[in-house]
C-alpha cells in the first residue's frame, strides 16, 4: 500500500486532494476560531469525513492495481457513509435542537456505522471497482441502494431544519448566517454526482469542485457571521465577576460551591470563609434550611426583601432572588441566590414617600385655609341650632305650666346638632392631620357625600347650583379615605373657582359616580366654567402649572399622584357645551369575604 510503485499520480487526483486538504483546514480553522462550541466541533467532524472521502478518492485515481484500488475505495467510504449523519448532527447543533432530536442523531450515527460494517464485511455494497478514464472507481452493489435512500433523506432533513430556522430567524446576522449555510450546502451537495460513476455511468466525478465551492462559501460565512451565537454560558465567568449583585451557589446540602467578589464584599466575609463551607456557618440567618426547602418546593424566589446586619453592624436592606437547578428526576442539585443591596433605594423611596405625604398634607391644609370661612359656617350652623334650642328649652321649662314635650324635643335636637358639629370638626381635623396612608374598603359615594357636606357653604357662597348623580350599588374601592377626600375636595374647589367669573349663566356643578367595566368606579366632577383648551388639558397635571392668579399649581399634580398610588387614573375632558370635567377611575376588587 505504501509502495510508490503501486501508484502513478494522475492530474485527476489533484482536484480531490486539494479539496480534501482545504475542507480539513476549514474544519480545523473553525474549531480554533470558535473553540469549545458544539457547532464548531460537529462542523469539524463533518469536514474530516469529507476530507477522508476526497483524499482517499484522489489516491484511488492514482492507484495502479485493482486490489489496492478496492482497499482505497473502502477507505474512501469510511468518510462517505458518515457524511449524511454528521451533516444532520451539525445542522441540529447549528439550529440548537440537538436535545429535541437526540435519538435521531444517535440513530443516524449507528446506521452509518452499520453501513460501513456492510462495506467492510460483505461485497454487497462495494462489489468491486470500475476502471474509467480518470482511474479506478468503486462499483456499487444492491446494499448501496438503502445507503442512497439514507443519504438523500438526511440531506433533505438537514435542509428542512435549516429552512425552518431561516423562516423563524429574525433579520440580521442570524438570518444571514442560516442563508449562507443553506447556499453552501446547496452547492456542496452537487458532490452527489460522484455516485453516478459507482453505477457504471462514466460521468466525471467533479464532486470535489462542489466541495471546494462549499469550502469557500463556508469560510466567507464563518468569517463574516461566525457560527456561534454568543450565549451567557460562554461568558459565565466574566458575567459572574462583573455582576454588581452578590451571587451564591449552594449545593443541595447547603454548602457554598461558588460566590463572586460582590458577595464577599456585601456579606463581609473573605472567600476562604464562605466557599466550600456550609452556609449555616456564615449566612445561616439569610439562607436557612427553611429557605432552601421553600425554594426547592416553589422553584423560584422573587422580591424577597429582608434586613441584614453586617459584621460591621450596619443594617442593610437586601433583595434576594433565588432559583433551583434540578437533575433529570427533578431533585434539586443547586440553589442559586442573587442578592442586591437595596438599602439606598429603600431609603430614597422612604424619603420620597415622606416628602409626598408632607406635600399632600401642606396642600390639604392650604385648601382648607382657602375654605376657612365656609368651614366656620359649617360649624356655626349646628352651633346656632344648639344655642337656640337650649334657650327654647329653658323657656319651655320656665312656663307657668312647663311644656315637657317641647323641652324634651329641644334637648333631643341639641344632642343631634352637637354631634353634627362634632362630626364636622372631626372631618376637618382628619383632613388637616398629618397621617400615614391607610387603606380600607370604601364606599365612594360616602366619600363624595362627605366632601359635598364640607363644601356646601363654599358652593352656596359662590352661587353655584350643585347636582349629584350617584350610581347605586357600586362596588367598594380600596383606598385611603382622607387622600380620596383630598382629591375630590381639590376637584370641587377647582370647579367652583373655574365658575367664579361666570356672570350671565348658571353656575352648575355636577358630581357623578358610575361603574365602568374596564376602569372600575369612575367619579366625575363637571363644571360650567371657563373650560379648558387642549393645551391646558395637556399641562393641567404638571407641577407648578396653574391657571389661577393665586394658585400654586400643586393641587392636580398631587391629586394625580394620589390616584396613581391607588392604581387608578385621573384625567380631564372639555365639555361639549361649556366648562370642563375631571374624572378619576379607581379599580375595584371585590373584598374577600372574611
Amino acid at each position: 500500500m505504501f509502495n510508490p510503485t503501486n501508484y502513478a499520480i494522475t492530474p485527476h487526483s489533484v482536484g480531490p486532494w486539494v479539496g480534501g486538504v482545504l475542507i480539513a483546514m476549514l474544519g480545523i480553522a473553525v474549531l480554533v476560531r470558535e473553540r469549545g462550541s458544539r457547532v464548531s466541533l460537529t462542523l469539524c467532524l463533518l469536514t474530516i469525513s469529507c476530507a477522508i472521502w476526497l483524499l482517499s478518492a484522489g489516491t484511488l485515481y492514482s492507484t495502479l492495481h485493482e486490489p489496492l484500488a478496492l482497499w482505497w475505495a473502502k477507505a474512501e467510504h469510511f468518510g462517505v457513509v458518515f457524511i449524511p449523519s454528521l451533516l444532520l448532527i451539525f445542522t441540529l447543533a447549528f439550529v440548537q435542537r440537538v436535545h429535541e432530536f437526540r435519538a435521531v442523531a444517535w440513530g443516524s450515527l449507528v446506521v452509518s456505522g452499520l453501513l460501513y460494517v456492510s462495506v467492510l464485511a460483505t461485497d454487497r455494497f462495494i462489489t468491486g471497482v470500475y476502471h474509467y478514464a480518470w482511474g479506478y472507481y468503486p462499483r456499487y452493489g444492491p446494499l448501496s441502494l438503502p445507503f442512497l435512500v439514507f443519504f438523500f433523506s438526511l440531506l433533505l432533513g438537514s435542509i428542512r431544519f435549516l429552512w425552518i430556522e431561516h423562516t423563524r430567524a429574525v433579520h440580521g446576522i442570524p438570518r444571514h448566517r442560516v442563508k449562507a449555510l443553506l447556499i453552501a450546502l446547496g452547492i456542496g451537495y452537487w458532490g452527489a454526482v460522484d455516485f453516478l460513476g459507482a453505477y457504471g455511468i462514466p460521468f466525471y466525478p467533479f464532486g470535489y469542485v462542489a466541495v471546494l465551492g462549499f469550502v469557500v462559501l463556508m469560510f466567507v460565512a464563518v468569517w463574516r457571521y461566525r457560527l456561534l451565537e454568543i450565549t451567557p454560558a460562554l461568558a459565565a465567568e466574566q458575567i459572574i465577576d462583573t455582576m454588581a449583585d452578590a451571587l451564591l451557589v449552594l449545593d443541595h446540602e447547603g454548602t457554598v460551591r461558588a460566590a463572586n467578589q460582590a458577595a464577599f464584599q456585601l456579606f463581609g466575609y473573605p472567600k476562604a470563609e464562605i466557599v466550600g463551607k456550609p452556609i449555616a456557618a456564615t449566612l445561616g440567618n439569610l439562607f436557612g434550611k427553611e429557605t432552601l426547602k421553600a425554594l426547592a418546593d416553589t422553584g423560584v424566589m422573587r422580591e424577597y426583601e429582608t434586613d441584614y446586619c453586617t459584621q460591621q453592624g450596619k443594617i442593610l436592606t437586601l433583595d434576594i432572588m433565588g432559583s433551583v437547578t434540578r437533575d433529570l428526576v427533578g431533585y434539586p442539585l443547586a440553589f442559586v441566590f442573587i442578592t442586591r443591596d437595596v438599602t439606598e433605594r429603600k431609603e430614597a423611596e422612604e424619603a420620597l414617600r415622606k416628602a409626598k405625604t408632607e406635600l399632600a398634607h401642606v396642600t390639604r391644609v392650604m385648601t382648607m385655609g382657602e375654605m376657612v370661612a365656609s368651614i366656620a359656617h359649617e360649624i356655626t350652623q349646628p352651633l346656632t341650632a344648639v344655642l337656640t334650642n337650649g334657650q327654647a328649652c329653658l323657656r319651655w321649662l320656665a312656663r307657668e305650666s312647663p311644656n315637657l314635650d317641647e323641652a324634651r324635643e329641644a334637648v333631643r335636637h341639641i344632642i343631634q346638632d352637637g354631634s353634627r358639629a362634632g362630626e364636622v370638626i372631626q372631618r376637618i381635623r382628619a383632613l388637616v392631620k398629618k397621617t400615614e396612608s391607610e387603606s380600607a374598603w370604601l364606599d365612594i359615594n360616602g366619600v363624595i357625600h362627605e366632601v359635598i357636606d364640607l363644601t356646601h357653604s363654599e358652593i352656596l357662597r359662590n352661587h353655584v347650583v350643585l347636582r349629584t348623580d350617584l350610581a347605586d350599588g357600586l362596588p367598594a374601592v380600596l383606598g385611603d379615605r382622607i387622600q380620596l377626600q383630598q382629591v375630590l375636595l381639590n376637584l370641587v374647589i377647582n370647579a367652583i373657582e373655574a365658575m367664579s367669573t361666570v356672570e350671565y349663566r348658571r353656575r352648575e356643578l355636577l358630581v357623578t359616580s358610575h361603574r365602568d367595566e374596564s376602569d372600575g368606579v369612575v367619579v366625575s366632577v363637571c363644571d360650567s366654567g371657563v373650560g379648558l383648551n387642549s393645551q391646558e388639558i395637556d399641562r393641567l397635571f404638571d407641577a407648578y402649572y396653574t391657571t389661577k392668579p393665586h394658585g400654586l399649581g400643586m393641587g392636580l399634580s398631587i391629586s394625580r399622584s394620589i390616584i396613581q398610588a391607588h392604581s387608578g387614573r385621573l384625567w380631564a375632558t372639555a365639555n361639549d357645551g361649556r366648562g370642563a370635567t375631571l374624572h378619576f377611575a379607581l379599580p375595584t376588587v371585590q373584598p374577600r369575604v372574611p
Binding site: A373, A376, H377, T380, Q381, P382, L383, T384, A385, V386, L387, T388, N389, Q391, A392, C393, R395, W396, R399, N403, E406, E409, A410, H413, Q416, D417, R420, S457, L460, R461, H463, V465
Partner: protein, 208 residues
C-alpha cells in the same frame, strides 16, 4: 289665620337652624311658620300677613338679599331680620339700606333675636296701623266733592272764609256751607286737625 295675630316667618335652608328657631319662637308664645327656601315663601301667599321675617342671607338659588328686593317690589311691608353664618359687612350694609330691622351674625344671643323680633313686630304693627288710618282718611277725602276739595286746599293754607270767597268769586255763605260739609265728611273737629289730615294725605296748599 286671624288678621290681628302676627306670624313670624323663618326662612333658612338649614333644617336644624330652622327647627331651633321654630321651637324658640313658639316657646315665647308667638306664631311661627318655617320655610326652606325663598321661592317656597314667595309661593305661600303670606306676603301681606301681619308679622315679620327671619331670613338667612345665603340661600341656595334665590338668596336672602334677592328675596328682600322681591318683597319690596311686591309692596310687601313685612319687616326683615337677617341672620347669617358669615357676618360680612358689605352684605349687612346692603341689607340695612334696604330696610332690614336687624342683621344678626350666627350664632346669635337669643335675647338679641327676641328683641329684634319684638322691634320688628312693633314696627309692623305701627306701620300697619298707620297705613290703615291713611287708607281710612283717603276714603273720607274721596267722599269730598271736587269743589269742596278746592275749598279745602285753600282752607288749610290758613285763609279766612271771606278771603276764600273772594278768591273763588262766590259768597261767604257758600264757603261756610262748604266748610261745614268738609269738616263733617273728613270727621275733623277743628281746623288744626284738618290741616294735619291734609298733610298726611299730601294735599298741597293751593295758592289761588
Amino acid at each position: 289665620m286671624s288678621e290681628a295675630e302676627p306670624t313670624i316667618f323663618v326662612i333658612d335652608d338649614d333644617p336644624s337652624v330652622r327647627q331651633s328657631l321654630e321651637s324658640l319662637i313658639k316657646s315665647v308664645g308667638w306664631r311661627v311658620r318655617i320655610y326652606g327656601s325663598a321661592p317656597e315663601f314667595l309661593g305661600s301667599g303670606h306676603l301681606d300677613a301681619p308679622g315679620c321675617i327671619v331670613l338667612d342671607v345665603r340661600l341656595p338659588g334665590l338668596s336672602g338679599l334677592d328675596l328682600q328686593q322681591a318683597l319690596l317690589r311686591a309692596k310687601s311691608h313685612l319687616p326683615v331680620i337677617f341672620i347669617t353664618g358669615h357676618g360680612d359687612i358689605p352684605m349687612s350694609v346692603q341689607a340695612m339700606k334696604a330696610g332690614a330691622v336687624e342683621f344678626l351674625p350666627k350664632p346669635f344671643r337669643e335675647q338679641d333675636l327676641l328683641d329684634a323680633l319684638k322691634l320688628a313686630l312693633d314696627r309692623d304693627r305701627t306701620t300697619r296701623q298707620q297705613r290703615a288710618e291713611l287708607a281710612a282718611l283717603r276714603t273720607r277725602y274721596d267722599s269730598v266733592t271736587p269743589r269742596e276739595q278746592q275749598v279745602m286746599g285753600l282752607l288749610v293754607t290758613g285763609l279766612l272764609n271771606k278771603e276764600i270767597a273772594a278768591t273763588l268769586g262766590v259768597s261767604e255763605v257758600t264757603i261756610k256751607v262748604h266748610r261745614s260739609q268738609i269738616m263733617q265728611k273728613m270727621q275733623a273737629d277743628s281746623l288744626a286737625n284738618l290741616v294735619r289730615m291734609a298733610e298726611r294725605l299730601g294735599i298741597p296748599a293751593s295758592k289761588s
